[in-house]
């Protein structure tokens, strides 16, 4: 692809990207290409061989976001989100499920470093660093309600059903969480629950740290997803799940305080999309320059060339918006919320089109599992509603742009 962006990256960012690219080219892509059946192994724990996670560990991409004082990485804070974008794109270019798995650790580490009490940071960051299998998860979505949280609808009737009540020196959590990335195999969960049913969710939602194995927490299943299948999405049930009082991260205003997590999350989401798009383009560019139809390589048919140009143009347009939005998030610009939602929704729809072209230009081969193009198509499709649906993202943009009018809640069901 085009690398006009090289000039704006720091030397460290370029070196980090090169390390990730080498890891993906040497380890991840060959594994994905020659083991396409592994995605469909119905034992979720068996899908991704440990060698891949160990490789990710060796280049140090599992634990970005952990502060250096705990043995983590000292990323430049002024460009941290842009660096996240760069790295998640590279990893997703190899496999977007692997990227999902890893970026969840970075995002939740941001929450922990910001909100966890020092002694719990001292406890959990070293464990995260030590164990290549240690994953983190962020639990918002419930069987009834996800879009409401993204908007967010700040009325009691839209509040979370999962509730936490203080009982002596413990919080007691009851409820369910669904569609949680890494939910099936995480070691530590950040869980959002209602702690005040009388107010809206921006004033009545608290967040908690819940270690796997806490009595009352049950991982009920691994969701079998259409794409990103090397990330194990899970469902959780809380039945009188008791966590010590110090495991409270943010009291009452947890949703409103999670902005840095959400904004970085949208950028990472868009960047993973971009990685899938780049993979689509690279595979297709290679294919159409080698495969012959009508006596000549496909790219020499103008209709094919035009589609390829369209793929490249969409990818570069997404890249431009992601860069602009990531910069706004890094600089805490007032429009960052708007821009990161734009980047997320635009990336998901554009890369879906890029993946559709890839499928089309591969002809019948595009439909065959062993060819890996349909995988890219599925991986692209699932981005449409991870971290908010397309429509909800658009509404969020307009509610942010016009808070006085569109920002007002339409009113409850009568």
């Amino acid at each position: 692809m085009i690398h006009a962006d090289d000039g704006i990256l720091s030397q460290e960012q370029r070196l980090m990207r090169d390390s990730c690219r080498s890891f993906v080219d040497d380890v991840v892509t060959p594994f994905i290409r020659s083991n396409w059946q592994r995605e469909w192994d119905m034992s979720p724990g068996e899908r991704l061989p440990s060698a891949i996670l160990e490789g990710a560990e060796a280049i140090g991409v599992r634990t970005l976001g952990v502060p250096e004082e705990f043995g983590g990485i000292d990323l430049e804070k002024e460009t941290e989100v842009r660096t996240f974008a760069l790295i998640s794109e590279e990893i997703a270019r190899g496999d977007s499920g692997l990227a999902d798995k890893l970026v969840q650790n970075w995002k939740v580490s941001i929450v922990l470093r910001q909100f966890a009490p020092k002694h719990l940071q001292e406890k959990w960051f070293p464990r995260l660093l030590e164990d290549p299998k240690f994953l983190l998860a962020h639990c918002l979505t419930e069987p009834r309600g996800a879009s409401d949280r993204w908007l967010p609808y700040n009325v009691p009737e839209a509040s979370m059903h999962t509730k936490a009540v203080l009982d002596g020196d413990h919080w007691v959590i009851n409820g369910r969480k669904q569609f949680i990335s890494n939910g099936f195999d995480a070691s530590l969960y950040v869980v959002y629950a209602n702690t005040d049913p009388s107010v809206g969710m921006l004033q009545g939602t608290s967040s908690f740290l819940v270690p796997r194995g806490t009595p009352g927490l049950t991982i009920t299943k691994c969701n079998e997803t259409m794409g990103c299948r090397f990330m194990n999405n899970g469902e959780l049930v809380f039945e009188d799940c008791r966590v010590p009082a110090d495991h409270l991260l943010v009291k009452s205003t947890a949703l409103a305080s999670a902005g840095q997590y959400f904004r970085a999350g949208k950028i990472i989401q868009a960047a993973k999309n971009l990685g899938v798009g780049v993979a689509c383009f690279e595979r297709t560019a290679d294919y159409v320059q080698n495969y012959v139809q009508g006596g000549r390589i496909l790219i020499k048919h103008q209709a094919v060339a035009l589609r390829l140009a369209d793929m490249a143009t969409r990818i570069e347009a997404v890249r431009s918006l992601v860069e602009r939005a990531a910069k706004a998030v890094d600089e805490a610009h007032p429009d960052a919320d708007i821009l990161c939602n734009m980047a997320k929704v635009y990336a998901s729809e554009e890369i879906m089109k890029v993946a559709t072209h890839a499928l089309e230009l591969h002809g019948g081969n595009g439909a065959m599992l062993e060819f890996g193009i349909e995988k890219l198509f599925r991986d692209a499709a699932i981005f449409l509603h991870m971290d908010a649906t397309v429509d909800v993202s658009r509404m969020k943009i307009i509610k942010n742009m016009f808070p006085a009018t569109a920002g007002k809640y339409a009113g409850p069901e009568s």
């Binding site: 690398h3 460290e12 070196l15 980090m16 060796a58 280049i59 990485i73 000292d74």
Partner: protein
Amino acid sequence: MKVVVAVKRVADPNVKVRALADGSGVDLANVKMTMNPFDEIAVEEAVRLKEAGHATEIVVVSVGPEKSAETLRTALAMGADRGLLVRSDAVVEPLAVAKILKAVAETEKPDLIIVGKQAIDDDANQTGQMLAALLGWGQGTFASKIAIGGAAIEVTREVDGGLQTVNLPLPALVTADLRLNEPRYASLPNIMKAKKKPIDEKTPADYGVAVEPRLTVVRVHEPATRKAGIKVGSVAELVDKLRTEAGVL
């Protein structure tokens, strides 16, 4: 033990390079550059010597343009301790590089110098040998294994007939071959840490070395494109073509 490793910035071996239209060289504009793969192996070996407790300090040196600092940074991220960029924007031929490295060795006084057996751009395979000769040190070229024993080093070399083992008193020079090790990726945390490691900058003139080329490039052109294959009708035809056209039988 102090180790000096020389690293060169070259075009990425995975990139298809093109000759310049006027035949004066290779078109490197917008081409991805990387550390010479044999030099990566040299750096990796030095880092392993340090991890095994043999080496105490690793100094990486690169002769080349300003951007070679990035190649040094990669070596620092892999585990080297400090860097030295001897800056020259012009092409520096192996003999001049060897003379510069000799001067570096005289100030740094390393016990061991490791270089790649050749750089994948000009494939000269000369710098290590010339450097050892200039220094009057023993050399173990095309190393596939090295073992430190007291004041000497045992180098297993890949030679045409098989493997040869040489024992060299220190200080000595080794050139790294492909099977010496598998270099690590620079990890992201180490890339950030490498930012704080020092890189000194000098010029060839600081060492009194003239870099004016002694060789003249007559013309650089691309290899002839391979002709398409043909299908033969029978084994007899195949054998006939191998004999008469390919001349291999």
